[in-house]
Structures are given as C-alpha cells and as structure tokens.
C-alpha cells in the first residue's frame, strides 16, 4: 500500500459513509418541546455549538431527544447517532453508554470495555485524528451535563 493510499484510507475511515450520511441528514434535528434536561456543548476550537434536548419520563427513561446547532461533520454525526441510540435508554444506561463511547473514541479506554457501542463504532476512525476526538465526544459530554442537571456549558477545551 502506498503512502498515498494509506492516507486516503485513513481519511475514508474517518469520514465513513454512515458518518457523512448522519452529518448531511442529521436525525432528530431541531428543538424539542418540553425537554426535561438540556445542555449546550461548545467546542471553541472550531466553533461547534450544539444544544441537546432530552425528555426523561417518570421512570427515568429517555423518551425523546433532539439537538440543534452547527458543527463539523464529526460532531453533528455524533450528535445524530447519540439521539438515535439513547432514545429508549434509562438515564443510568445512557450514562454508562457515555463512558463507553468516550473511552472507546479517545482510544484511552480499556480494550476489554464490556459495553458494545453499536453504531457508534463508525466514529472509531477519530482515534487516528487526536485533534478530532473532542468533536466526536462533544455531544456526549453535553449528554452527561444535561442528565446531571449541570447547567454549565459542556466545553471540550
């Protein structure tokens, strides 16, 4: 494999079809009425700015999630996948999922991390792009802030 090919492959690994699809056609995009939990996620590095909305029912289950804002392909796709994945989870499950995603994507995680992150695996290409890990994890940090009712803006810097 030439350097040229290797480089192209790494890029394609980052910008997989699934990612580009979610970036261009984000699911659950828009404002959620009557959210029970919200948080802003800001990445001052590149101006990513997302607002995440969640509605949690009395039994502690996420019954709806949406997001608004602007961001790079990675952060938007990650937010889109986040909403897709966490709707239906209990908040404690979502928090556990948050930990698994962040540790997998930052490449710092335990290889033996038991939680299967499912579709989020499509984002694993960021491991080769350390500067972009923050983009991929931004919506997840916002998820945590929202569920913790932590009114601070989640920032990755």
């Amino acid at each position: 494999m030439t350097d040229e090919d290797k480089s192209t492959n790494e890029l394609r690994d980052l910008y997989r079809e699934l990612i580009l699809d979610h970036a261009r056609n984000p699911r659950h995009f828009g404002r959620l009425d009557d959210p029970t939990h919200t948080a802003d996620g800001i990445n001052p590095l590149c101006g990513d700015k997302l607002k995440m909305y969640f509605r949690v029912d009395g039994s502690g289950r996420i019954v709806d999630a949406k997001f608004e804002g602007t961001g790079c392909a990675i952060s938007v796709a990650s937010a889109s996948l986040l909403t897709d994945t966490t709707i239906g989870m209990r908040t404690d499950e979502a928090m556990q999922f948050f930990s698994a995603v962040v540790s997998k994507l930052s490449g710092k995680g335990d290889e033996a991390e038991p939680t299967d992150i499912g579709k989020l695996k499509a984002l694993e290409g960021v491991k080769e792009f350390p500067a972009r890990v923050k983009c991929a994890t931004l919506p997840w940090h916002a998820l945590r802030s929202a569920l913790n009712n932590d009114d601070k803006t989640a920032s990755t810097e």
Partner: protein
Amino acid sequence: MNTAQNSMQDDDTGTFDMESYRAEFPILSREINGCPLVYLDSAASSQLPNTVINAVSEYQKTKHANVHRGVHTLSHLATDAYEGARDSIVDFIGAASRSEIILTSGTTESINLVAQSFARPILGSGDKIVITQLEHHSNIVPWQLVCEQTGAELHVIPINERGEVSLDDVVAALDDNVRLLAVAYVSNALGSILPIKEIVKEAHDRSIPVLVDGAQAVPHIPVDVQDLDCDFFAFSGHKMFAPTGSGVLYGKENILEKMPPYKGGGDMILEVHFEGTTYNELPYKFEAGTPNISSVIGLGESIAFLTAIGMRNVYDHENRVLDYLTSQLSTLDEMRLIGTAAKKASVQSFMLADIHPHDLGTILDHQGVAIRTGHHCAMPVMDYFAVPGTARASLALYNNENDVDRMIEALVKAREVFRS
C-alpha cells in the same frame, strides 16, 4: 519546489532569492503525516529562523542573568542585549525614541495596558470607545471590560461584504463623545488592509487618539509609526518570527508620560517606601518585574532578519503569492472566498462547498498542509458573514507558489472524500 523556483526566476524580482530565506526555517523541512509540511498558518503564529532560535539558546548558554539590576558582567551583557533589541524596534517601526517602546508579553497585553492605564482613568458614562467589526477579540474584549468598569459605551464601525472599512463610516462614528478609536491595521480573519493614515488623520482632526492593532501588519508591510501618526501601536513578536512571549506597545511619549503605571513591581520604580513610591521613567514605568529577556533578544534578532531582507521585498513577495493563492482557489467549484478587499495582506479565508471548515482542516493536515479553521478569534466577523467559521490560509515570507499548489491539491482530495 519547482513551481516556486521557476516562478521566482521568471518574474522581475528574479535576482531576489526568497528561497534562500525559506531555507533558514528548520521546521519547514519536516514532514507531517508523511508529507513535507506546507505551513499556511502564520497569521496564528509564524515559524522561527535559525538565527532567532540560536540567538536565544546562545544567550541562555553564555550570557543569561537578570537585567538592569546587576553590576556583574553577565547582568551587563544581558542588559545590553535586551536594550539593544529595544533599539532595533525603535528603528524598525520608526519610533521617535526608546522611551516610546514598552516591551510587553504580546499584542493582547499591549492593548489591555492602554485600556486600563490610558482609557480607564478618563472614561465615564456617556463616553465612547470606537472599534470596527473586523477586530480580533484582543481588540474587542479589553474595551468591553473597561466599558463595564466605567459605564462607557463601545461603538462598532461596520464592514462591507468585501471586508472593507470605509473612511466615511469611520468619520460617521467619530462624534464628540469618542475618547479613543482602536482599529486593526490588517484584519487577521480577512486580510483587509485598512487606510490607517487617513483614519488617524480624521480622528486627530477631531482630537481623538488612535490605537492601531498592528499584529498582522508588522510581519508583512513596512510600518512607520511617525508617518501613520497613530498614538499607540501594538504588536506581537511571535507573529514576526520571534519566540512567543514578547510584544510591543508603542506610545507617543507625551501620552505615556501622563498615564499611571499598569502593573506594580520591580524595575518600574525608582524608590519604594511604605510612605510613597516614585515610579521610574519611560519606558520602565510600564515594565514591572523581570522582563522576558530571552524572547526579546529573539525579537531583536528577527528584526535583524527582516531588515536584511527588506520589508518592501517581503511585501512584494507575499503579495505575489497571495494573488496566486486567490486565483488558484477561484478555479475550484463551489468556492466561496471570504475577505475580498481591494487592499490585502497575507490572508485568505474561504468555504468549500458544504464541507465544514474543521473537516477541511483535518483533511488538509492529513496531507501535510497546515491551515487554520474556526473563528480566528474574530467571532463578530463570522457573525457578519453568517458562517460558523472559515478555513484560512495565511502567508509569510517563506511561503511560495508550490505551497499554494499543494493546498489546492489537498482541497481537491477533500472534495473527493466528501463526495463518496
């Protein structure tokens, strides 16, 4: 490299070999992700030539000591080198005397000094500070802070869709309540060169002092502060091939004389007693504490480097490469150039199709091409153009046409990746 060398030989400054200056920058021969580095981020921070790097380490290996306060030889050598750099700065920007050159940690500190020591004591409610829409955060936030502290108001001169500031709009903003006009010479996000001399004249006709943020001017165009006639002029060493941590505030002596000190500490005093303290004379009154001796010595050396090339040559060379850059970018489909002022230096911002600048930045970096993406510390400019950020290529004297070609290739690849 061939493209660049050919074009250098073809044009009318063929005898002037910019490539040999480029070779002085060691970082430019390294590889990034397996490709030779193309560095197009000098507006954020420029690279350092060997002469600067070596001057700093030689200083540290052979003459370091604290300045001003010692009779021993090393202290004397360090003081001479440090004060010698100040003399170089005087000459480089055409100041009237060494008393007018205050050494700071950078443009940001220079502007904060003026905000706190010049503006704060004279501002009250009803007073105005005027800036423009294209300022860097460092020429916005210090004024927001001092306005909050004093009740004064910040007024903003608009820009047009090319990223220009018109003299008429400046004049319209200058009423009787304006206490200071603070304006960039060259926009770091758009590259626009503002008509500073004319702006200063209009302001002075109305007795309004002017601070010029020269951070993006000094590395690219010849500057003469006495010709501009501005009252303050701020810039950073690290954008003009010197180490980080050094900067300059030029101020007219009669104005600096009247200002209270900014920080208290060693070196800015003549005598300290609990009953009262006498401040030192200019410029020391504004230089509290041990200065950044080694970076300032580096700055003196980078000025020597620029002086040897000649700022006129730097400007002509960069201008040619910038023209080439802009015309090559224009050949790409779905290219939106942001910042198309008639007079520009060094910088071109752009958007390519629907690719977020941050993604562009990653794809280019993967091919060894370093550009900056984001708001460039000029969020109001992003607001004006209604973009979350831009991709920005910025040039310095070491860039050439080959760098431009490499960036264009990388942009083509980005389109491909995103088309998949």
